[in-house]
Symmetry: D2
Subunit: 298 residues, 4 copies
């Protein structure tokens, strides 16, 4: 069979909620409609920005189904299927495949991080990849999990025929370069997990990016992707520079509440987060907005 | 109404699994039967040592029901009801109360730790405590959550009439002393979250302890509790000293797989953990065993 | 020969500076005069609170000489002689012994912390202790060095005939208990490195304390020492409780500038710190003062 | 006056020691002689790789004088002049300027890291830059100092006429991009502090690199510099990939003892480090060597 090509930009969709914090599928479809004209390679649902830990298993599956129905077949659908236990992750992965996901994005289990040795994580991912009807992408996001999927585990797992690549949100460009270099003989694709280090990741050989900021500035991120592919590095640099501050503000600084707020300024539905995530204060909104306006986006 | 007195020792029960990693209720009842003769103040189910993140919601409720049926009414049943979202935590807390829990033990949500400000956590716990039919105990366990419930949040929450106290597993004795001192005018009880600093916590004014090691050495821990209450500090010190190494080995060093293995040496059912937690290697078992034998317990 | 008994309280003296940031030996003697009536076991000079990294080698020696001249012979003089290299530490230790120090307090070298393995540190301290004409006390202060002297290194070094004990400022009471327990067959004395966990350390078997707060509240700390030795644990607890907040404010919260400011309220010379340490703002002074007044010390 | 152009590669020289750990100036000159044919922009002496914390003040000055005498005038000499106190740093900076340094490289003071606020560091660097007869380069190396010079401090200091740029060894490419972007209206130059992220830093707009690995593989690093300047990004990527593992092994993994050992394989004098830095074990030497041979350098 063919390997799925992950080259390009994927927005990790936020999950729209109604004022009472119920999943709002209509708004989700509305956003998808607006994203249709942007040349994304595909979409991620239920990544960290999708508030997946706040959704019940049944809700997670319904989100996948909803997005699959609305998404053209040539757009890839990556679905976050990670759970804490191996058995729950397998069950969720199989169900998401049935619901129409093309690829399973599997976050590192982390609650017992002291016990999540390289060996334990290799076994976890191997069992999941063995059982999954769709290809698996590893997902390391230490800002949330306080755990970096060890490089040696990545290199071992890269050899698994059903493991396609990794989304790395840690931002350690040395590690990203090393992953690309050490897996150069495998079909293994590295996705930058944030717009802040997208250009640098491409310069080191990454295939694409899963970028929260693509929920807001999808067009410019696809343009940055294109410039890097075509070798327009000088123009790419200027664009990258203007994206860092907005990106930091919708990730590290203000998180998902900031991301959803910024979406509203660009014509998307943002809406509330589920508690305990709290809305921004007026002064925080002001600070958020200034990172977009100071860089020429508003 | 009366405040529930949390003074004494609580083992945070491990959850027995069969060889196929299904919850084994028969073995759970067997362990409860063996614990019946130890003067525990009560039991905790579905704390971190209960592998709660690996249980489905329905399984969590069944464990509470099973333990409630087997437990004499004069033993307190604390049940871990924390989930990532506020709404899921409320729902789980209400259901566990219906299943017979006396007290809800609510761990800090942590996946979006960057957004878990003191204000966000105060709001989360306040909503849970408002909605809960049973008293709430806060639960801070930074080794798992990478998040310390901020002291200022604890002091605010201590004033809530339905918040009874805190289980603090961080081991910062300065903080424990400060919590006791600053809440001296409230009915707020501090529980040491580990046997390693139990004596020190009592010396600073803690009410009791929730100690993984009580699954294994419940008798000696109740004796330590008694010595501290009666002022036998010199004897208490000698006993505490002999408990640190075994405790470190069943918590930080080898985690739940180590705890379950040690339980078997003392007549309890340990059994496997759910994956991705992995069993100890033979040399790890040897090292674990030596921490018990070198201190005179085996 | 006899082992030096470290039982009791030691203030780690601040180093007085003139308005132009020169060492002010007259003010140093003035403070010593005021401390003479407090039943300290001895004094520490040039610990972290003495701003030792800001003093030239010659200044460090002059401070030792000055204090030795002013100090009655029955008071122990511990002098911080640690440098980054082994050879500089040996040279400084020998010179401080000649200048009248009774004991050398040797902080862990830390700049190359990634290379400071247990083996490297054991070798460092062994060479220093071999060469030193006076006994050595190990000094672990991770808040400054980002390095914890590993427990296994402590246990190995405890067997050295010229290593007397450790000043541990990390505040991990589990570790303190373990050090006391595992060295019970050696003549090895553990000193609590902070007033915040002094009672807890005594309860676990520590010999004494080196407490920044003793520069300010030396009398109450000696009283706490006495209560713990005599078994007055309930009274000790109440006293300990009232000391935590002031102590946190002159250590973690406001550091040496806070400590020096508080000294002035109690009749000692505080004065400025050397830059880049900066004086407190008026609102910080207010906050500092409230931690003393709220606990009945002002 | 003209601004000094820092564009290019600078090896941060190791300091050669004799078998008795005395500075070996003859070997230092020998290495300089070997480096003369490599198109470095200049040299750094007494950076972290120069073991500066292990040298007495007088030794630091002699190293600067020795290198200045041996170095052609068209090669820049950057000298590490940072000390813990502001006054000692100023004195050392002035002396190093007199000894022939072109630029002072000033590491963040770090022992009292809790007190090293952005304001304190701005004041420290401002006083040093005001007093220095030569331009100052900021130096942030969190692996050693556990302190990141805050971005806001960098942006403020970038406006100082005598502050030329920053050597940033933290490896956070987002931060490097942001520094370049936010100082684009100043004459402020960013130097990558490690070969591991050199290409990525250039892609984001850095001016040059101070790379430990340049002590060993100076030619290839200058070639990488040239490729990046000329836009040969594909060839640059392949070269960068082959440099990461050797670089990690002479920095994070094995530190200065590893760096000095590797230097010997390429015709330079390495020699011992000062204690407590310890030589590699035979198996570590083997592992180190394999990172060079596996990437085609040996």
């Amino acid at each position: 069979g063919h390997t799925i090509d992950l080259g390009g930009i994927f927005p990790p969709l936020t999950t729209p909620f109604s004022p009472t914090q119920e999943v709002d599928y209509t708004q989700l479809e509305g956003n998808l409609c607006r994203y249709a004209s942007i040349p994304f390679r595909g979409l991620v649902v239920l990544g960290s920005n999708g508030e997946y830990p706040y959704l019940a298993p049944q809700e997670r599956l319904e989100v996948v189904s909803c997005v699959r129905r609305a998404l053209p077949r040539d757009r890839l659908l990556l679905a976050g299927s990670g759970c804490e236990s191996t058995q729950a992750t397998i069950k969720m992965t199989v169900s998401m495949a049935e619901a129409g996901a093309d690829v399973a994005l599997v976050v590192t289990p982390c609650y017992y991080r002291g016990a999540m040795t390289s060996a334990a994580l290799v076994q976890h991912y191997t069992e999941v990849a063995d059982a999954s009807p769709i290809p698996v992408v590893l997902y390391s996001v230490p800002a949330n999990t306080s755990l970096d999927l060890p490089l040696e585990a990545v290199l071992t797992l890269a050899q698994h025929p059903n493991i396609l690549g990794i989304k790395d949100s840690g931002g350690d460009i040395t590690r990203i370069g090393l992953m690309v270099h050490k897996t150069r003989k495998e079909d293994f694709q590295v996705l930058a997990g944030s717009a802040s280090f997208l250009l640098a990741s491409y310069a080191l050989g990454a295939s694409g990016g899963v970028c929260a900021l693509a929920n807001v500035l999808g067009g410019p991120l696809c343009q940055l992707d294109r410039l890097c592919r075509e070798g327009g590095w000088q123009e790419a640099r200027d664009l990258q520079h203007r994206l860092i501050e907005p990106n930091v503000s919708v990730t590290r600084r203000f998180g998902i509440p900031g991301l959803k707020k910024a979406m509203e300024w660009f014509g998307y539905y943002g809406g509330p987060c589920r508690a305990p995530l709290t809305p921004l204060s007026p002064s925080q909104v002001e600070e958020l907005r200034s990172t977009f306006s100071a860089n020429g986006w508003l």
